[in-house]
């Protein structure tokens, strides 16, 4: 018999412990950046007190897209087809607007095979969090370049990439995503904060998370290695996040800090590390991203946030309850309606 009473497990605001957000055992390589991202997702969901049953995890194909199996087992998940998770996510959100859609994709799944669906997802401002676990290579097929690989980056075999990369953040901002940022799987604090703010946002959140592939792209000459990213990481802001269920206890200086009120009443505070960077200015964001390219920086932070734009579901003007479970009385018009339609056709 125990001599000391067992400590009550720590719980969040809805009474769940962090174990309630756990997933299966990862089958990715030891040290893979994706596992760190899974951990951050678990933390953010736990900290925000999100009911796991409300979350729909969606992914395409690739190492990244396997990762939803490794977090939040109490959430439904759909590992779909290569490059086409955006359409599946869109369908799911059309069916049930109460879901919190969390999409996990990779750089190949998004920027190569999936670029078509990606750009159209960004245009629609569908409420969902879209994470790219970005390592610049195809892992599951053993290390070919993807379309986010930087110009001049080198494969293990010595092959040099001679095509320019697609900047998914620049694309997302240009096309209409309303919360766009880049982080690094190794930056625990920044990524956690960004994920919590993402949960508070109502609209398309696009986070490109550089996540080194320890097996195929972590060597000298790669621009997606741990070392390279650490050496070239240039953070735009220092950020903190105050969820809507907590009091703001630190006053911020409007001269040095931008505070963004999120849809759910949470506050995202961005302490400027660069003078006059305004994350609500779309054009400035594009310019800064282009500069980063030219300078060879791995620019991280929240580049753009817009809490005013209507979401896709707002535009469709659908009923408040999920379409999926509407009763027959609401989805099958009465006989009089059919009679009227028939009369028109006589």
């Amino acid at each position: 018999m125990a001599t000391t009473p067992a400590a009550e497990p720590k719980t969040n605001r809805i009474g769940l412990s962090v174990l309630d957000y756990k997933g299966g055992k990862t089958t990715l390589c030891a040290g893979c950046g994706h596992n760190a991202i899974s951990e951050r997702i678990i933390e953010a969901m736990y900290d925000m007190g999100v009911q796991p049953e409300r979350v729909a995890k969606l992914s395409g194909i690739g190492c990244s897209s396997k990762s939803p199996a490794y977090f939040m087992n109490r959430s439904h998940s759909f590992n779909s087809v290569h490059g086409r998770m955006p359409s599946v996510a869109t369908g799911a959100m059309l069916a049930n607007r109460d879901l919190i859609a969390l999409g996990v994709s990779g750089d190949g799944d998004t920027a190569s095979i999936g670029i078509g669906q990606f750009v159209h997802l960004m245009r629609r401002n569908l409420p969902m969090i879209y994470i790219i676990e970005d390592n610049g290579v195809y892992g599951l097929t053993k290390g070919q370049f993807s379309a986010t690989a930087d110009l001049g980056s080198k494969l293990k075999s010595g092959v040099i990439n001679d095509l320019p990369p697609i900047d998914t953040c620049g694309l997302a901002i240009e096309l209409g995503a309303t919360f766009v940022g880049r982080s690094f799987s190794g930056d625990k604090r920044q990524l956690s904060t960004m994920l919590k703010a993402a949960i508070a946002h109502h609209g398309t959140v696009m986070l490109d998370v550089v996540s080194p592939c320890v097996t195929f792209n972590d060597h000298e000459g790669s621009t997606k290695s741990y070392k390279y990213v650490k050496d070239h990481d240039e953070a735009l802001q220092e950020m903190s996040f105050v969820p809507h269920f907590e009091e703001i206890d630190v006053e911020y200086d409007p001269g040095t800090t931008v505070s963004v009120t999120m849809h759910d009443g949470s506050h995202l505070q961005l302490r400027k590390l660069e003078e006059d960077y305004d994350p609500t200015d779309r054009i400035a964001a594009m310019t800064r991203l282009n500069e980063a390219h030219d300078k060879g920086e791995v620019l991280t932070g929240i580049f753009y946030v817009n809490t005013k734009a209507p979401s896709f579901l707002d535009m469709l003007n659908v009923v408040d309850q999920p379409l999926a479970t509407l009763p027959e009385s609401m989805t099958r018009p009465g006989k009089a309606a059919l009679d009227a339609a028939m009369e028109e056709l006589r």
Binding site: H76, L99, V319
Partner: protein, 612 residues
């Protein structure tokens, strides 16, 4: 290009024969985009309103304006409304095709032509009527820029006079056509009347064809198959529609948008549906699957090229067991083929759409009424069997005007299939997504968002066991595939049964499906009256095939499978299903020129194959 390819044999040229009442085909040859659609609809409706069975078929080019188009109205007292091969009355409005159109007519046919075309010089075995359209239209339409549009209504009046169609019915049809646009209606009515008056004063009727009032259309409606499918889907409780425009399916969703606005917006102005035009067919099917997974009744409409693009996702939906409805309005392929012509060419590719072992349920409507009713059946089957259901319509059915009895209000309730909710899970304590508890091959599913800790499962296209956990075990894969097969076998007893029509002691059977039905129905009567060939007829309404199909083939010495594709696609599917000794009884009659199947072609081919 001529749309009649065969000139029937006969002496011809003998005028003054007996009147032919309520049995003719009228073809109007115009230029695409010239606004003739209203005139043709008015003509069709006027005859319909006189109680005569009709159909209207638009043969149009893949073009927005400028290329030739033909509209064929068939009026038939016996209710044969399939395409008739011969044209009895040609309205030649298109200078570009007029010569070919005239040269391809059978002797004794009538031709109504625009005076400057001087077509009467071409042949001496036809009946020609010349009409100075420009002069007539100038008298009724002072505004020069409207004349081009109104000109077409003049021929309606001329045809009405020559065929004895009542002007009162023409007026009624014009008023319906232009509905609230009174000014336009009056202008068009004046044009029709001017045509009628001109014909009365200046043309001497020499043809034998005429329309007489009868009572075979009372209470009936006229609608195209795509609109019927749209309406059916509205009443089927469809909640999510995602689509990418492609001829000939676009009008299905476009009409559905209108019907949804009429009938599915609540008093608060909010919609009980979402319709999204996707970026391509890949996204359209992806959205259908995402929505079906999350519990919506989701659908899309497409044509052959779209079906090809949906292939990968269809395999995922088959294997991950996700409901959804896909309307394939078939057109001629491969590739772009003839995008504005009809076909039944997607049967084989759709039955097995995707990679690996897949097979899909297909429903096959032959009529607008079935387009309506199968919309509900498709959703019920999709949710009952947690799988995609393909509804195989075609351009002839989808885009042409058909008369029908009014549609019956669905009597079967909306069936959502085996879905466990929070209360079920509390009682059961948990569930295994792909476990065959009931022996029918169908597992139980939960919807994302179900508020129970045991509700979630992981959906994937990768190998999985009955708890939907990732598995590469050979036995897990095999068991799962065998269960999917069991599910497909179960569906045989639930899909729509074939329609069987018996002749008298027939040794010969005919199997057909979809719009081939109309040609076959007429052909059976021709075979009986002209060749004394008795036939039994089975009309397939679904794949997988039901027991009745096997029995039908077993009961006949020879079975002709009539279909609108080159490779006898349905016959091939039947062969896969039949006992080997029965397969030799099947004979193929195929039709693949892109025009709707006509009875004469079937009669000619079947009688020849029977040695007659």
């Amino acid at each position: 290009m001529a749309t009649t390819d065969v000139v029937p044999q006969g002496a011809g040229g003998q005028l003054g024969r007996k009147r032919i009442v309520n049995d003719m085909s009228i073809q109007v040859a115009t230029v695409n985009g010239s606004g003739s659609q209203s005139s043709n609809t008015v003509l069709l409706r006027a005859i319909f309103q006189m109680g005569v069975p009709i159909s209207g078929k638009n043969l149009f080019p893949s073009n927005i304006a400028g290329l030739p188009t033909w509209y064929t109205i068939r009026a038939n007292k016996d209710g044969y409304i399939g395409r008739k091969k011969e044209i009895d009355f040609l309205v030649a409005m298109n200078a570009e095709t007029a010569q070919d159109d005239v040269m391809s007519l059978a002797p004794d046919a009538s031709v109504l032509y625009d005076e400057p075309l001087a077509l009467n010089k071409l042949r001496d075995d036809l009946i020609f009527y010349s009409v100075p359209y420009d002069k007539i239209v100038a008298t009724v339409c002072p505004e020069a820029k409207l004349r081009k549009l109104v000109k077409n209504m003049v021929y309606v009046g001329v045809v009405a006079q020559l065929l004895e169609i009542e002007m009162g019915e023409v007026e009624k049809a014009i008023r319906k056509q232009f509905a609230k646009k009174v000014k336009a209606a009056n202008l068009n009515l004046a044009a029709a009347q001017a045509g009628f008056d001109y014909a009365k004063a200046s043309l001497q009727k020499r043809g034998v064809f005429c329309i007489e009032r009868m009572d075979k259309t009372a209470g009936k409606i006229i609608i195209d198959g795509n609109s019927a499918a749209a309406l059916g889907s509205v009443f089927a409780g469809c909640t999510v529609v995602t689509w990418y425009p492609i001829t000939p399916s676009s009008s299905l969703v476009e009409t559905m948008i209108e019907y949804m606005k009429d009938y599915r917006i609540g008093p608060d102005g909010k919609a009980t549906f979402a319709i999204v035009q996707a970026e391509d067919e890949l996204a359209a099917i992806g959205m259908v699957i995402g929505a079906g997974w999350a519990g919506a009744r989701s659908m899309t409409a497409t044509a052959g090229p779209g079906i090809s693009l949906m292939s990968e996702f269809s395999g995922l939906a088959y294997y991950a067991e996700i409901p959804g409805v896909i309307w394939d309005i078939q057109r001629v392929g491969p590739s772009t083929g003839l995008p504005t012509r009809t076909s039944q060419g997607d049967i084989l590719s759709t039955a097995f759409l995707s990679h690996g072992d897949t097979k899909h349920i297909m429903l096959i409507p032959c009529s607008v009424a079935e387009c309506f009713s199968m919309a509900s059946e498709a959703f019920n089957l999709a949710e009952q069997f947690q799988t995609l259901v393909f509804v195989m319509s075609d351009l002839d059915l989808g885009m042409n005007n058909w008369m029908s009895d009014p549609f019956e209000y669905p009597t079967t309730p909306i069936k959502r299939g085996k879905v466990l909710d929070k209360e079920d899970l509390t009682k059961l304590g948990g569930f295994a997504r792909y476990k065959d508890l009931d022996g029918d091959g169908v597992g139980y599913r939960t919807l994302p968002g179900t508020d129970h800790p045991a509700a979630a499962y992981f959906t994937r296209g990768s190998g999985h066991n009955d708890k939907s956990n990732y598995s590469e075990r050979p036995d897990d894969y095999e068991n799962n595939m065998e269960r999917l097969n069991r599910k497909f076998e179960t569906s045989r007893s639930f899909v729509p049964r074939p329609e069987i029509l018996k002749g008298t002691n027939a040794k010969i059977g005919i199997i057909a499906y979809g719009t081939s039905h109309w040609g076959v129905t007429e052909s059976r009567d021709q075979l009986r009256s002209e060749y004394a060939i008795e036939t039994d007829y089975l009309r397939l309404r679904a794949y997988p095939f039901t027991r009745e199909v096997h029995e039908f083939i077993e009961q006949h010495d020879r079975v002709y499978v009539v279909e609108q594709n080159r490779d006898a696609q349905m016959l091939s599917l039947l062969k896969l299903d039949l006992k080997p000794e029965l397969t030799t009884r099947l004979r193929s009659i195929s039709h693949l020129d892109g025009l709707p199947l006509d009875a004469r072609s079937v009669t000619d081919e079947l009688s020849t194959m029977e040695g007659k």
